[in-house]
Point group: C2
């Protein structure tokens, strides 16, 4: 049954939560008295729809239903999870929780607060046990981190349920074991923010120079290893102790202005806002969002390739979805539809459409799914055998564009103990975009030569080949490059 998430407070953060739940197949009810909320949420949702599916390698679930509720009661009634993202004012949060818990006293209630401790949020609550911190990071629909902070009043089982829901929508719940103002990440952001304000105020660096000092150097490091693992590597063979022996004493050097807080004057605000305009003003906020999301998608896909950090979260999430989907066995009397893909930003070439090597990439994804289907997947490869492509012929029948959803299907043209002759169709909405005819050879990988396929694979392959022999042979099968159309 479709579950329901209630989003109370619909700004950029609330919108990001709404997008994650909707795109994960949950129904979402939003409460926000701001008449602009539907427009703002719509913009976040448009960004998320263009971005989040680009991280998945298994089909996304059907999107849930979005409603805007007129009252908190409407939003939270029947909800399986509630996320609060109102302004950072404690008395406002307390008031909102009283209204929520009047109608949904036992429902999990996560707060997006970046500063308050859960024990502060729970003060005066009808049911403090269900209120906890679930602090996300902008853009919420792309960054996996959610700091989950309970207090001693929370039931540990509730918190585990909440973490499971967060994993289900693709997040990485970081369980913060001791409550503390601003949790973990924002303490670092605050430290850097103070220091940055000093540097600008003292005329040491502009906002642009500070941003370059970050993104040309340690920022790149921190997207894939954090502070300690980076330093562990820097310490080299001598290890972490050696690193600390070198850098520990620096703590007492007069390096930073951290002992002091800059005065937050109008002049300082104007100075920073002016420098920021000079640095980034030639891009609109919408443009910057698109650039940021495209870069983040790229980084996250790199990490997915290396199964590292946030990329491991994505792979685990795919695996969870793959298992849940439990795809029905396809009908082997027709071409087998085995792959579902979406055209990603990196697949586009200078002509503005999908670059030709990505058609072969889509074909490979389809072929790999077929090999898994006949029992010649990764485990089979690990045991020393695989199918290698000997030759391919690609016919282009249309242009795929950014965001297009493509399917890949396999028709077996022939097979024997060593050879596998496939015809793969890449389609969009049932219309052919490209076809790929391939001859694969079964190989002994260590010996580097063709050899007969294992009987258990042949047993699965042969009936499909037999069933497909009844299908019409594709017009372009057996075609050579430049052949006149008959």
């Amino acid at each position: 049954m479709t579950r329901k998430a209630a989003i109370v407070g619909g700004g950029v953060i609330g919108g990001g939560w709404a997008a994650r739940f909707l795109l994960s197949g949950w129904d979402v009810a939003i409460f926000d008295p701001d008449p602009e909320a539907p427009r703002k949420i719509g913009e976040v949702l448009a960004n998320a729809r263009a971005a989040l599916p680009a991280l998945a390698d298994v089909p996304m679930p059907a999107e849930g239903r979005l409603t805007f509720s007129k009252t908190i009661q409407d939003a939270v009634e029947g909800a399986d999870y509630i996320q609060e993202s109102v302004s950072e004012r404690l008395e406002l949060k307390h008031k909102v929780y009283a209204q929520i818990q009047a109608h949904a006293p036992t429902t999990l209630l996560g707060s997006s607060t970046s500063g308050f401790k859960p024990s502060e949020l729970q003060i005066k609550a009808t049911n403090p046990a269900t209120i906890f911190v679930a602090h996300p990071f902008n853009p919420v629909y792309l960054l996996p981190l959610a700091e989950v902070v309970p207090s001693q009043k929370n039931d540990p089982d509730h918190i585990e349920n909440a973490k499971e829901i967060l994993r289900e929508i693709g997040m990485y719940p970081l369980h913060v074991r001791k409550e503390i103002d601003a949790h973990i990440a924002d303490r670092f952001l605050e430290a850097v923010w103070r220091e940055a304000l000093w540097l600008v105020k003292d005329g040491v660096a502009t906002t642009e120079e500070i941003d370059e000092a970050i993104r040309m150097g340690f920022g790149l490091r921190w997207g894939q290893m954090g502070l300690f693992e980076t330093y562990r590597v820097a310490g080299g063979e001598a290890g972490m102790k050696h690193f600390m022996a070198q850098f520990g004493p620096c703590l007492t050097w007069p390096w930073t202005k951290l002992m002091d807080v800059p005065e937050f004057t109008d002049e300082l605000v104007d100075l920073i806002a002016g420098q920021s305009d000079a640095q980034s003003g030639h891009h609109s906020i919408r443009e910057l969002e698109r650039i940021r999301d495209q870069n983040l998608i790229g980084f996250l896909r790199v990490l997915k390739d290396t199964n590292w950090g946030a990329g491991k979260v994505l792979l685990d999430h795919d695996e969870r979805r793959r298992t849940l989907a439990s795809a029905p066995t396809p009908d082997t009397a027709a071409p087998l539809v085995l792959a579902h893909m979406q055209v990603l930003p990196g697949w586009i070439d200078y002509n503005g459409h999908m670059t030709e090597s990505r058609y072969l990439h889509a074909s490979t994804e389809t072929c790999d799914a077929f090999l898994r289907f006949i029992g010649a997947g990764l485990e089979y490869v690990k045991a020393g055998h695989s199918y290698y492509t000997a030759e391919s012929h690609i016919m282009h029948a249309g242009e795929a564009k950014l965001g297009d959803k493509l399917t890949g299907s396999v028709q077996v043209l022939g097979s024997d103990e060593k050879r596998l002759h496939l015809f793969i169709r890449i389609e969009r909405d049932g219309a052919l975009v490209a076809s790929i005819e391939q001859m694969l050879l079964h190989v002994d990988m260590a010996a580097g030569r063709a050899c007969p396929v294992k009987p258990e694979v042949l047993e699965r392959l042969t009936p499909i080949t037999a069933a497909h022999s009844a299908l019409a042979r594709p017009d372009t099968a057996g075609r050579f490059v430049g052949q006149r159309k008959s």
Copy 2:
């Protein structure tokens, strides 16, 4: 003429500098009294050789010659640039500078110091005017940032020359206009480091939890936008002032422990070293270096695709090298060798060799180079015309492995006003790895249909087609998939 860089101090940082200069075609002389220096430098250099070329899309220059000098005099004599990376002790640096300037008093002398100001480095120097800070970030061979900090004693022309040399070896010189302890980036690192030590000491978070809080969230943001641009986007349409109005007051909240410095006891060192072992101890330092480099290469290539931040530095560097190389016009009476590539980590599939779609990718790179060669490059596409591939046939003749250097050549099998029939060979050390036969159609992109090519392109294409008609036709041209070898 090959230029010479002298590297004084050969640890991880000195080794990174040496690698950048060598791989950029400079000769490098290293002075380091440590008998282990050649081994240590060798390890850094091996990492760099596996990593830095993966960022380039133009051929790398021939590597320079590496020598280990027995004296500072030998290292610095005849050098065009000197980089000092000895330990962070001011009296040691002064002693080293005196020895350097006894033999090379007018040569540019950059220091890798992370803490000292240039005016401190220049004290008592024979020639303070050539001594400045050039502070890099580990791994030096991949991260582009070098903070360049002069004092008032430096000649501005010298500093501009130094920045030009840094750009030549692929770095991004960030000119720090006001000297200050620890320059810019390390002030932030220090602020975060202090806060992190408090969190571990107080038992709020382990080193692993802190690293996750960074790399699952804001670390990903900072690799592509820095602090201020990220917050500008977060502020949304209301802009930077709105963002600051929201977050400014937090400065006086009791959020951080920054007002105090943790005591650096043995217990704290043991606690952190122990947690770091639990977090990362299952990987050796060498493994972590490889993982880090692979992730960084991936991030940097993503940014290169979007022409953003550090990726723009890489593109500009390619462009500089492409112009400098001023490739000789290839002999049009033979297949045209037009592309030089290296097999990157992301090109490898589960079989451990180059994935099939990357052969077509290599072919596309070659074909694009040919289109530029006949005057149908990006400018031509911008004006509304392009060649689209109609069909392709790929024959695999070998396996390419990680790091293999590949060349792509084009033989024109035929052409007319609308059609272009190419045979592309992908070779390694002169041996065929794959061949790709393609039929391309010249199209009017707006109309979406074939049309005659512009006369100026035809004028360049036709003589090549004529010259190539004298070449032997490849055996596999005109082959269909599964055809028996004749």
